[in-house]
């Protein structure tokens, strides 16, 4: 099996972006090439004009629980973690060309963390036969 780790990043909430950033940074530090495809809400979160905004929490995390206030999630530095991962290792972040079209965006509106836009075949070819996560 290939050493590559590939992630389809679909979600655009702070908690899921943070989970993806943590896995990416860990893999990058371990010397594993990381290949990320941004789709839908993740793509929206990576827009240059919105990336620093508060993206909220996923519905399952935001439901109130009497003994676990959601404020405990706190300030989660997913953006900085992605930046560090790219500095440290071989991390490619691609915008899904189809999702760009669906959301009416173009690649130029993405944050500089996004390397380029590509189709699903580009992503799958880069995934080689390594593992693919969907977040």
């Amino acid at each position: 099996m290939s050493d590559n780790l590939s992630i389809v990043l679909f979600s655009g909430t702070e908690d899921k972006l943070h989970a993806a950033a943590t896995i990416t940074a860990g893999a990058a530090a371990m010397g594993m090439p990381v290949n990320i495809l941004l789709m839908y809400w993740a793509l929206d979160a990576f827009r240059a004009d919105r990336i620093a905004n508060d993206h909220g929490l996923a519905y399952d995390a935001s439901r109130p629980r009497w003994n676990e206030p959601v404020e405990h999630v706190g300030d989660i530095p997913w953006l900085e973690t992605f930046r560090q991962a790219k500095e440290l290792g071989d991390v490619t972040i691609r915008a899904c060309a189809g999702s760009l079209a669906t959301l009416g965006l173009d690649a130029a509106s993405m944050d500089p963390l996004v390397d380029d836009a590509g189709g699903i075949a580009t992503f799958l070819a880069a995934a080689d036969d390594g593992q693919i996560l969907f977040i």
Binding site: T22, A25, G26, A29, M30, G31, Q84, A85, L88
Partner: protein, 91 residues
């Protein structure tokens, strides 16, 4: 070449001083690992980095990273409110 048995004992670890100290105290996973990786590029092969961390995952993470990348994990010893982890750069 000298052969060393790792991890070293606490007594042996306490006698060590890293060529580079990485103070990652207060940083949560994966912060200390990322700091360790960055610091490794600043020392020569054969030199030792010493990572200070208050994150409970650092000890096993740095051990796993060292094994994967090919560095020598010497061990982890308790400091006051944090742990000191030692790794020799091998490549």
């Amino acid at each position: 070449m000298t052969t060393i048995t790792t991890p070293l004992s606490d007594t042996e670890l306490l006698s060590l001083t890293g060529d580079k100290v990485v103070d990652a105290r207060g940083s949560a996973c994966p912060g200390p690992l990322l700091e360790a990786k960055k610091a490794m590029n600043t020392v020569q092969i054969g030199q030792t980095i010493e990572i200070w961390s208050s994150d409970p995952g650092t000890k096993s993470d740095v051990g796993a990273w060292s094994a994967k990348v090919g560095h020598t994990y010497l061990g982890t010893v308790a400091g006051e409110g944090y742990e000191r982890t030692f790794v020799i750069r091998q490549k």
